[in-house]
Symmetry: C2
Subunit: 179 residues, 2 copies
């Protein structure tokens, strides 16, 4: 599915304008946010100019597994359920996000398919950062841009270490069974 389809989905959300009015609230959340925990209020304020805020009613699907995507989002208020299809294509709850958590970084970065589906479990407020906005930050605010990229690199590196360790453990177990 195209990014246009994902943008169409965002039309089901109520747009609340850019994120500047939410900068203080976002800053109170960042200690719970692995991605933004090292950002100070001035940096959050600066970044908020490049983000849009949306409200999602309960049950609304914000991101759909398999779609191409071009944004990440920070959950400001409410809760989001994350589902991944199992091998019978049935949705399986794999995570529950609370305020401060971010989701969708990988597709923002590479435009690749969404790994999972995100549904508002209760009325949710999210701040969206699109890839083209990140590109503008890098050009217009290079120091902030480098900081965001550095945090993304650190986060991905950490996740890759965890995922690789789990994969190696599964491979070992399978081999043990086969011997």
């Amino acid at each position: 599915m195209s990014e246009a389809a994902e943008n169409t989905r965002l039309l089901h959300l109520e747009p609340l304008g850019d994120a500047t009015g939410y900068a203080s609230q976002m800053h109170t959340l960042i200690e719970r946010s692995p991605l933004f925990e090292n950002f100070n209020l001035a940096e959050i304020r600066l970044m908020s100019h490049f983000m849009q805020v949306f409200r999602a009613e309960p049950g609304i699907e914000i991101i759909r597994e398999g779609d191409a995507g071009d944004f990440m989002m920070l959950l400001i208020d409410g809760r989001i359920e994350v589902f991944k299809q199992d091998r019978w294509n049935a949705p399986r709850l794999i995570a529950m996000l609370d305020p401060g958590k971010t989701v969708g970084e990988m597709s923002m970065i590479d435009g690749g398919p969404r790994f999972a589906t995100c549904v508002a479990a209760e009325r949710a407020i999210v701040a969206v950062l699109r890839r083209e906005a990140l590109a503008r930050i890098i050009l217009e605010q290079p120091i902030l841009g480098a900081k965001i990229l550095m945090e993304l690199v650190m986060m991905l590196s950490q996740r890759l270490r965890q995922t690789s360790a789990r994969l190696v453990a599964y491979m070992d177990r399978e081999e043990e069974r086969d011997n």
Copy 2:
């Protein structure tokens, strides 16, 4: 083990100075380099000022699994064998690197333990980029710094997608067996 230990290991390599004299050669390799394939000659030249070149004789260990690390390297000439310990702590060959390939990005980024051991399979020339040099690039050459970070983010994102897909496949197989 400390980063100091890893730096001690680099002392077993012959230092050949900074990488400026190797910029053209590095540029001829980049089409084989997932990390640097989008860099033009001017960018490689600029980056080469921040990299050091070393020669490793055959059999010399350049990176040791489990060590803390603070650099990545680009293989300019020769071949490098990559070993990972299996569960009996025996080294298992998991990859063979040829010129243009990079290795060590994750530890450069987060200072965490090396995932595998790298040994020169034949006389090898490597260009090393340390974390502190990347930090200087970001400050002194922010556009180049953002480009390097963006490429790192893309590479990690791609690897994370591949590793996650393999992990999900193993988890599915295991569940199928248990049912």
